[in-house]
Symmetry: C3
Subunit: 332 residues, 3 copies
């Protein structure tokens, strides 16, 4: 249990200052709750005031806060404290033995014609179907389904309940009924992708659905058939993308946002929470469409007016016309 501060710095770099020799850390905690055997970090200048009061054994800080941090005790000085913290959590997890073990859990159902890299970890009660490919060091946590012919790259993390390669939602209408379009494509997932619990990525109708390298998807996300998500785009929980939409690289899609089908979203687009994207976005930027929350009684009055908004504009137009005609001549 725990790590020596010196071992942390040996592994992750940074400059350890003001620490007693042999100081051992027993946990990582936020500044305001860290105890005297815990390591903390200060990322945001806004929390600077918490620094002096923190009981943490040591604080990870940027060079600008070095002096202030040392006044209260030990510090690890590094250019990017938040990045350092991220790497520290990974080191900590490994030290606590929390890394997934390579191999296929005996309760998993892996088709003999699937290809699973020997360094991958297939957790309990996963299903990997015929022709699926799972890359090196990829982890399927538990109860993950990977459909036939779907491919997952290296170093991916797939959380419980994820469904990769269910049929896309495609039907031809015929005499008031729906005739199924068999979904003949698959899903292709790049390297270093993380997919949150119970998220669904459908297989393509003819071509594949594609998730590029470094994409991060949160829980309960819906990715429809033939969607393409560019490198290092991140999508938060409960967001959804309808069929054949192409999302660029380095986008951020906030929680419960929806993007309708057959659109193109440029790189570096940021969509706010619960926003519905109904047309293509050609330029980087931050886009929003959320009804502002209010006290229910206020909302009712505003919402009732909203239903007549077009008429309100017509009334304003009529007033403008009227006033123009009635404005007295300006003094010459």
């Amino acid at each position: 249990m725990g790590l020596l501060l010196t071992d942390i710095v040996d592994a992750l770099g940074g400059s350890l200052e003001g620490a007693a020799p042999g100081l051992r850390i027993e946990g990582i905690a936020p500044l305001d709750s860290a105890g005297p055997a815990e390591l903390s970090f200060l990322n945001n200048q806004r929390y600077q005031a918490q620094l002096a009061q923190s009981r943490a054994a040591c604080v990870i800080v940027a060079p600008a806060l070095r002096a202030q941090a040392l006044e209260r005790g030990a510090a690890i000085v590094t250019d990017e404290p938040y990045l350092y913290f991220a790497r520290l959590t990974q080191l900590w997890a490994r030290a606590q033995g929390q890394a997934a073990q390579p191999g296929i859990h005996p309760s998993a159902v892996v088709h003999p014609d699937a290809q699973v890299d020997a360094s991958a970890s297939i957790g309990p009660l996963c299903v990997v179907e015929q022709g699926a490919v799972i890359g090196a060091q990829t982890v399927l946590a538990s109860r993950v389904s990977v459909g036939a012919r779907c491919r997952i790259g290296a170093r991916c993390i797939i959380h419980p309940g994820v469904v990769i390669g269910a049929d896309g939602f495609g039907f031809a209408p015929h005499q008031g009924e729906w005739v199924k379009i068999a979904q003949l494509g698959a899903v292709r997932i790049g390297d270093d992708v993380e997919i949150g619990a119970n998220t669904c990525i459908d297989r393509g109708a003819l071509d594949d659905t594609v998730i590029e390298d470094g994409v991060k998807l949160d829980n309960l996300i819906q990715i429809a058939h033939n969607v393409h998500i560019g490198r290092h785009t991140a999508m938060a929980g409960c967001s959804a993308v309808a069929g054949s939409t192409h999302i660029g690289a380095h986008c951020q899609i906030a929680g419960a946002a929806s993007i309708i089908g057959h659109l193109r979203i440029a790189d570096h687009v940021h969509v706010s929470t619960n926003t519905v994207v109904t047309h293509s976005i050609n330029r980087p930027g931050h886009y929003t469409g959320v009804f502002p929350m209010d006290d229910n009684a206020q909302w009712e009055k505003n919402a009732a007016t909203l239903r007549q908004l077009y008429r309100l504009r017509e009334r304003v137009k009529a007033l403008e016309h009227l006033c123009k005609n009635t404005t007295p001549p300006r003094p010459q």
Copy 2:
């Protein structure tokens, strides 16, 4: 099959009146569809008109409706008919042998270092990981995943597909990519909590995600890392709470509502369906933010105007200015 009315009253209390001796009930049904061997209830005065027409063998009513109920047949008189009905459904389910049996289904994968109370029921194809704790009389239905070190209290009901303790969605940005923040916390769930199908509760980044006693979560809900939900709060299906938000006790969050991260919601707050909570709520009350539905053509006109709403306000302001200046002097 069935229960004697006298056995029901022996178990649940209330006063049975007007019933023939030995009357046996073969089902529970709403007033308007109950048959002559079924027990019904009248909770809402609005449905009082249905009472006279009901064919039910017996009706559960409040004292105020006793006389009216007895005119048509047997009645169980009790102060809280709806509560009585709830307890009756539980009695009925037990009588039909629908209660889960204690023990671990042989197809479940339970880590040898997990602690499962002997009275708990772990259903088929569940996964309980290392160090997890499952309390007395708690039921994991089927295909539930409980991650390492997560704790579930007593008398909880966890429905199929639930994922407790997947990683929270945390990354540090670095040169256009995302560096994973290993999620070192766990999930702590109190007693008497019910969690609906395919709902996800992520483990905390450093501290735990906490669900207090008596919380009820419906299906397909997303609870992000380090969220805290207070006692007896109920959340309906498809709602979502982003990271580190603290929801008070006795709140009601309606379906598909979203609460963004790092907020505080007071006790006794009611959030309407599909409302997006974007700032903390300090006072009990009812809060709403929903775009009113309309015929599509009407909506298009109003929505187009909404996109120019700020300009419309400016136009009104200009008119006000103009009219003030052009108003004729009032008669003296």
Copy 3:
């Protein structure tokens, strides 16, 4: 691998013209990406310009485009090219051996008192509980849960992670806590229903939840207790229906739309994406309620104004009153 064009026409009908004898197709692809051994189709007149450029071996077209198609090569002429394409994908999937095999996968947990038709396919790690009924040729993909006494008709396709028959979300309030209403009903699903990955359909409280013949549900949909969905209605991903709502036949509910509880929706109603249906809909039509997305800065100005919309209307009303009184008499 592949199919002869003549075999396709023998199986599906249509008129094959301009094809070299023995022409074999090795894939199906969209017009713009099809290679010289692939079969394509032209459904929408909009894509007519792509026809001349397409490298496809053969194109499925309507009679009106026959001449134009034959100028570039082989064609299958049929009255409904998109329907033909749908049937072709099914033929293709069967020819590739992608059809599910009848029988119960050894890893599935099927209660001895469940009834599974011999022609049904129960995939890996599914759970079928006591008294459940699975009809002829129905496919449960993998990791599907079907609760006690729930019934699924013939020729249904149930994708991974689906939960049918979890408890509805019903509680009686009592002294600030929630008393569970045991859910005594079940779920009844008709024939030819398809249900997408991780979708949840709750059992009814007293009566059953009902999904009629031919209904198509996409992924991550929430169907609450006692909902009734009429024949051939289709619902797209992440949509949700709250308790006891009755949806008619032939409706289309777009993605992430919500319908609150205890409503009635007529037949042939189309609800737009992300629309919240808060009252019953008695007439066929197209209904919408979506906040229009905008550049974030624009949105902020409009949203701030929206919060004062009622007041803005009052200001317009005051101006109208003022202007009426100040309007100069018209020239006689």
